[in-house]
Symmetry: C2
Subunit: 233 residues, 2 copies
DNA sequence: ATTTACAAGATTGCATACACTTTATGTATT
DNA sequence: AATACATAAAGTGTATGCAATCTTGTAAAT
């Protein structure tokens, strides 16, 4: 668990957390408006509380706030998507290097525990499966013992979920459980080189499935879409 | 300039920015209370605005908010300090690698321009000198063209300033301008190996000057300080 | 038919009021 | 003198009201 819990304002945490979860699980799709009033009604709190949560999510890059125009689920561009995936590569490479310098015993144990859960829900609960796949990467980062590295990975994994929501057809780009197993093995051997390679391959796989069909991109402005439908006079 | 400007709420940006600047420049020292009322009076705005700014700063790790207890300038522990410096090494290593893969022409030009400014104010304006030294690292990150990498570096450089404020005696741990020059040279040659090594040495120098005197740590509670001044009966 | 103007509705920006917590201060009790 | 309790002061948590701004729909003008 991250120590860095939500602090200010007891009642805004549930709002923050629910919104975050909904965005990550792609229930709230990129571009969807997030009006303070209606969200407040849903949770039985005032706009003050909701706004607080939205500001946080904005800072994390999951929500886009514009002056006088309110908040909506962020719509990363394809360029931002590549940027974020590159950054994720960098961060997770660092995770691998650090883990391979540590005592593999407790690390491998924790990872195998997680893997077992992943396998247990494999074909059954799709939502939970996706969530666990993401949490595997967060767990890796937490096991380094670095608070800040774990925070960054946590944040960037969320943003990758958002990217998948935007560009990939639903659930086409999940993590492969077998690949997670291979990564654990490399760590168990303390083989940094292999661990990094495996992780790279793993992430590239996800990225490719998500981004290598750029024609799949949904335009951010409806104008671009509609221009294709407009009959050429 | 980072594209990622402050968004929500026009009037809270000046508050956010001033507080941030004051913390980075060590005018507001770690542990100082930041009451919403008085800050609001200072800026002529309501607590709503101030709170908005504080929430942001809390999310960035520069401010520490606790429920019902308000906000104060964050007081990183020595463990967090090491953690943050390690992360900074990682991020700036990535910056170096990326820059060395790019066309050095425009990059070196921009860097030399910055360096000239650093030299110009060298012995004159200490505050400005420190700020420029930090901005050199941010400029490096921005030159990679990666929005998110630049954001992370920006954030982490700020947090390092906070660490210096907490643990180093005033201004003992500034960046050396000559070292910046050496880094530029390595980039000009496209020599990633050297660039990384130089940057590592540079950062380690700053870190060591800041952290290798752990007895310099200032106690967080006045009690501990005063106990030393109390005459032994 | 297209554009412009403008009014109605919806939503955000911000300040403020009040309840509640924490912290500081004072008083009584031991 | 020390502790415990009561009380006051200060500060935060939250809801709400009003002003400002944006959006949408409708009508007038071209």
């Amino acid at each position: 668990m991250t120590k860095n819990m939500y602090k200010s304002s007891r009642r805004s945490f549930p709002v923050y957390d629910s919104l975050r979860q909904a965005i990550i699980e792609q229930a709230l799709k990129p571009g969807v408006k997030l009006p303070e009033d209606s969200i407040g009604e849903t949770f039985g709190v005032s706009r003050t509380i909701v706004r607080n949560a939205l500001v946080r999510l904005d800072a994390e890059g999951l929500v886009d706030m514009q002056p006088n125009r309110g908040a909506s689920v962020a719509e990363p561009t394809i360029e931002e998507a590549y940027d974020i995936f590159d950054m994720r590569q960098c961060l997770e490479r660092e995770v691998m290097h650090r883990l391979c310098r540590m005592d593999p015993g407790p690390i491998v144990k924790a990872l195998k525990g997680h893997l077992a859960e992943e396998e247990k829900v494999l074909g059954k609960d799709s939502t939970r499966s996706i969530r666990l796949a993401g949490e595997f990467h967060i767990l890796l980062a937490e096991l380094t013992g670095s608070q800040i590295l774990a925070n960054y990975v946590n944040e960037i994994v969320s943003r990758c979920s958002l990217i998948l929501a935007r560009f990939a057809q639903a659930h086409s780009a999940e993590c492969g459980v077998e690949e997670h197993a291979e990564i654990i093995e490399a760590i168990a051997r303390g083989d940094a080189e292999h661990a990094v390679t495996r992780m790279h391959g793993h992430l590239r796989g996800v990225q490719d499935r998500a981004l290598l069909n750029p024609e799949d991109e949904r335009e951010e402005n409806i104008a671009a879409i509609l221009s294709r439908y407009r009959p050429k006079d």
